[in-house]
Structure formats: C-alpha cells, structure tokens
Symmetry: C2
Subunit: 382 residues, 2 copies
C-alpha cells in the first residue's frame, strides 16, 4: 500500500491516525434548444457517461405541456441505441417536496428497472421536481449519476445549477437532503416556451439576485433589457439566463466552499425571508416571487444600515417592478417572519451570517440584525 502511515506505537493509552483526502468532482452545463437531437446535448452527455440504462423522471406539468417530449426521447434512444426505460411521471411543484411519497415512487422505479450506479437518472422539471428526483437518485445505491434538465426560468438560472437536493420535513424547508453534484445540467430553452407569464417572470428574480452580489454588468444588462425580457424575447432571455447560470455554477466550483461547510452562503442573498414567506403564504407566492420580496427587504435593510445609497436602492426596486415582480406582501408583517432568521442560522449552523450589499455587485456580510431595523425595512416596503 502506497503512502502508508503506520501508527507509531500500540502501547500508549491513546492513538490517533489522521488522513486527509480529496474527492474530485466535475460540474458542467450545456445550453441548447434541442437536447434530444441525435448528436445534441444529451447524446454528448451519454457519450461521456456510457450509462447502462437511462431512467427519465418527468415533472407532470412538463409532460402535459410538451406532449411530444416522450416520443422525441424514444426516437432519440432508438437512434442512439441507448437502453432507456419508460419515463416515470411525477407530481412537481413545492407540494411534491412535502413528504416521502414521490421519493418512494422514484426509488421503486429504480429498484424495478434494476438501475445500477453506472446508470443514469434523467430529471426533467422545475426546481422542486429536480430537488426531489435528485435526492432519490443520490440515495439509491449511494448515488446514481443524475442529469438535470431544468424547465423553468428559475431552475435554468439558479437551482438547477446547485449541487444540493432535498425535501421539506417537519415543516422546515429542505430539512432533508444531501450535497451531490449532478453529472451534467442541460438547459434546453425549448422548455421555456410553454411557461405561463407568471412563472416566466418569477425566475428572473434569481438572475437579479446573482447580479446584485456578483456582477454589475449582468444587472445593467437585465435593466436595459427589462422590456424585452417581459416580452419574452428569447435571445435576450437566453443570454441573461446563461449568464446567471454560469455565475451560479462558477460560484460553486471556484468559490472555495462547494459543500457549504462554512457559514457564509452568498447565493442565499434575500432567501432567509423568502424561505419563510413561502409557507407563511401557503405557497401562494412562487419561490421566485418570494425571492423578489426577500431581495427588496435585504436591499432596504442594506440601505437602513448605511451600506447602500438611496439612489442605488431605488434603482434595484425599480428593476424588480419593471420585471413585474413583487417587492412587498402583507405576510412581511407576520411576526413569525423573524423566526426565519433563526431557522436560517440553524439550517446552516454556527453563527448567523447574512449577506447585505454595499452596491450592485458588492456584497458585505453581517452577523446580527436588530429587530428595529428589520421592522423599519418592512414598514418601508408595506
């Protein structure tokens, strides 16, 4: 055995052996309009992965909006001679994250189809479906490679690029889950065409978020193209989603803390309140809308703390409004909102760490937030 380190002695009362090691991962994003063309993105992924079998798991909403999808996949699997199981259709949306039912359905399919660790689960859906499917794939045989195809602006911009998954439990968002990088993420923009306007806009809040903490150029681009984004001009949307997805992916791979072992979680800017606003409104707010309100709250706090000037604050709120995204909600006044701060701390662990901004693209951490400032920020938005 190479590099073998023997313990010095076995006669002392206590011995200690310490052996650091690293695990190598890869994170990759494909952007396309036609993932299932022969020679297209999914072919490329399968060439690299050589899966024994592919199990497609599809969000029911996507399956209904894209009736041609299953046929397209069948044609692809025949042309490429890939062993592709019948797709499993699951409920999507946040409700699918609230119990083990969907997880068990997927695990049962993996069991019955005899998927092995050299097979592949292909997850097609919005952020919630990707979270549920990803968790099932991560725990079956201690991890079957996952390929994600996000089908909403939100998951294409943001959550589809994450290296985590999970479900809600005991009423706590994402209480159960693991860190596990997907084998690949394929953003196929053809899925976005069937989104309703509300969900189309909703995900843009995550692009604004990553721009606010990382990239003023992206903010400027979104701001100058807000009308085109609302009008769903696809080339503009592609550019902005791609830019946002890329910032997310590279934050994970080059940010120094891919599995979030430290307290700081910059990509969660605006999210401590968003995660609480969703259950407080019985999920009548979409995640993206809750994030938009959460961003409005945190930039207002940033202003009240003297970090952000009034002009920039106004500019950010104007952009959210120009994108037809909400910046306030009666639920902000719910006294339970403040519990979100403690739940956020508990979920990440250690001391409270929140991100504020000093300017567009310039983040700043804080470790406490007094209730007067918080109340004042909420009042300003109401």
């Amino acid at each position: 055995m190479r590099n073998r380190k023997r313990l010095s002695s076995v006669s002392d009362t206590q011995h200690h052996l310490n052996s650091p090691f690293t695990v190598e991962w890869n994170h990759q994003l494909f952007n396309t309009d036609s993932a299932f063309d022969v020679g297209g993105a999914f072919s490329e992924v399968c060439n690299a992965l050589s899966p024994v079998k592919v199990l497609p798991v599809i969000d029911k909403g996507v399956h209904q909006s894209h009736p041609e999808l299953v046929q397209r996949m069948e044609k692809w699997s025949q042309s490429t001679n890939t062993n592709c199981c019948d797709p499993l259709i699951i409920e999507g949306g946040e409700a699918s994250k609230n119990n083990f039912t969907t997880i068990e359905l997927i695990l049962e399919s993996i069991h019955k189809e005899h998927l092995c660790r050299k097979s592949c689960v292909l997850a097609i859906g919005g952020g919630a479906a990707l979270d549920v499917i990803g968790f099932a794939a991560s725990i079956a045989h201690r991890g079957i490679p996952l390929v994600r195809m996000p089908t909403t602006t939100l998951s294409a911009c943001d959550s589809g690029l994450g290296v985590k998954n999970g479900i809600n439990y005991f009423g706590k968002k994402n209480f159960i889950g693991v860190f596990d990088p997907p084998f690949a993420v394929i953003n196929d923009f053809s899925f976005l065409s069937t989104l309703d306007d509300r969900h189309w806009r909703s995900g843009l809040s995550e692009a604004v978020k990553v721009a606010l903490i990382k990239d003023k150029n992206l903010f400027d681009d979104i701001e100058s193209q807000s009308k085109q984004l609302i009008a769903r001009e696809i080339d503009v949307a592609k550019r902005i989603i791609l830019h946002s997805a890329e910032l997310h992916l590279l934050h994970i791979t080059t940010g120094g803390d891919p599995f979030e072992k430290h307290e700081s979680r910059p990509l969660d800017f605006g999210h401590w309140s968003a995660h609480k606003l969703e259950p407080l409104t019985d999920f009548t707010l979409t995640h993206g809308e809750a994030v938009s309100i959460g961003l409005a709250l945190d930039v207002t706090i940033s202003k009240l703390l003297g970090f952000l000037n009034e002009q920039t604050h106004a500019r950010i709120l104007s952009l959210l409004k120009a994108l037809h995204l909400p910046t306030s909600h009666p639920a902000l006044a719910n006294p339970e909102l403040v519990n979100g701060l403690e739940e956020f701390r508990e979920h990440i662990g250690g001391k409270l760490t929140l991100l504020m901004i000093e300017g567009i693209g310039t983040p700043r951490e804080i470790h406490e937030l007094d209730s007067t400032t918080l109340r004042q920020a909420i009042e300003e938005l109401m």
Copy 2:
C-alpha cells in the same frame, strides 16, 4: 470573481461549460479505553469540532450492557461544559436497517433538539446502528457532523471506518444510503468487554479479510495469536483490531477511490456471497460469520481457478476454523445464492468485478465467474 471562465459565445446553437472542482475531507481514528475521560478522545474531537450541541444516539444493546455509560457522558459534558442533549436510545442490529422507522426517530430528535450543521451526532453502537444513525445524520440539514464509536469487534475492525452508511430497502442490502465521511471514529476498547463470545469472534473475520487482500504480516499475526484472540486477551485483540482498522482507513483515503466511483471494491472481498447469505438464513448468521463463509468460498474459487496453491488455501481455512468461525452453511446450496453475483454487480454498477487472491496479501480481479467453478467450490465446502 477569481478564476472566472466565460463561455466563448452565446450565439452558437450549443454551449458547454465544464468546471472541475475538489472537495477536501479528513478521516481520523482515535483508539482509547476511556473516550469520555476529560481530556480523552471525545474531548479532543470536540475541541477540534466545537459543536453547538451534541446529540448522542446509542444502540439499545450497548445501553443495556453499559448502564454506567449515560452517567459517564453526563459527567463528561458537565466537566467540559458541552451542550449535550439527552441520549436517544435506538434498536440496533440488522432489523433496524430494514425500514425508515429508526431513521425517522433520529430525524425527529434532530428536529426537536434544533441541531444545526455545526452540531454533532455521536453514534455509539454496532455496525448496523452506525449505518442507520450515520444515514440520518447525513441527510438532516444536508449533513450534521458524525462521530462514530463502534462497540463491536466487527465495527471496530471494519465497518466503523467506512465512509458510507445506509439501510436495506426492497429486500436489497444497503439499497439506500450515501457516501459521507464521519468527522472522527473513536474505537473505545472498553465497549468490547461486554460482547458475547460469538460476536467477539464474528468481527475477526473482517481482520482476516483485510489481511488476505493487503497485509501478510497481519495474517501471520492473527495466525500466531489465534488462541489468545479466542481467549479474549485484550492487548493482542487491540493490536490486531487497530492494525485492521488502520488498513481499512488508509485504503479509503489513499486507495484512489474513496467514494467508489469505479467498479473495483477490494474491501468487499468475500462479501458478494456474504450479503446474500444473511437474508437467505433470515439473518441467523451474523455479518461476520457470513463474511467468514464468503471468504472460505472465494479462496476456494481462487484455488479452483489456479490462482492460489492448495497449501495456502488450507492454511486460510484452518485459521478461520481456529478462530471458531464457520466456513460452510447449508444455505450455500440455495440456488438463489448465484443471484448475489448479479445484485453485487448492480449495486456497484458497470461490469462484474470480483476480487480473488493469488496468495496472502496478493489480490487479483476477475470479471466473470462460471457456474461450474462456483458449484464445485460450494460442494468442496459442504
């Protein structure tokens, strides 16, 4: 953002961004007789980890055999001023791995005690309990640091050092689980004193296993000390358990495939049939006994394939017998045993890879096993 790689263009039909990254882990083993002494192994671990809270989860059998344990822990937590929750006592043994009941109990405790990702789950028990507790800790908040205290020769030699966890599902051993290195493993030899003779001996099969594939010196040591091991001479047992544990730990950290992304799994020598013999005998065989039979089978196959000479084969079987470990069982004749080969392949994925040996400490991989040789090996052992 440092190291930022922009996509070359957004106007082509397909784009690809590829970004490798590594995650750093550490694997450490403490060996002691008194983990809860102030300044002892658990104090050292807590000094390094600074957990917000500690939740001890204890195998019921250990709790009953060591009635002073909880009091010792309380004294320790008072002396060290550590925030230690009331211990949760769970059923141990393979039965606890057959459903979600115990997992949910542990998750509920984590939820109610408000454990965060900077807290610590302290798992005290045999291999099955450690698997269940470890899985619950790995999926709560996407991973709460785990400290394992193996309490059997088997888990102290072998499974307690692993970087995996899990439960059985759909009748498949370890169908659900994840790879997740513990923060630390503490082998406290004082736990071994209350094991019954059968379980004491049982775990020695894993020490024989790792010796067979990695270290002739360890084999010689076990062989020359077999009487002392059976007589439970603790200093001899400590040396051999420590040597075995060390070989396991260093295989994981320096063997090049800690999360088993490849097909080869040398530490599973003798295990393909062992994993099948356990359910085929309704778990009347302990895991260690099943491993002993599995070793006897695989060294016999190694002999029949012409890899291993008769003399060495006889020597290995003699050692297992000298340790009062079984080398045969009527269940070997069950035609279902052969399905174990396919289930093993499916669990690991890809092509079948089994380890055989050419001599003590000299492994050799094979990728097929004809049924005639297998039947002949079984007949020889019956």
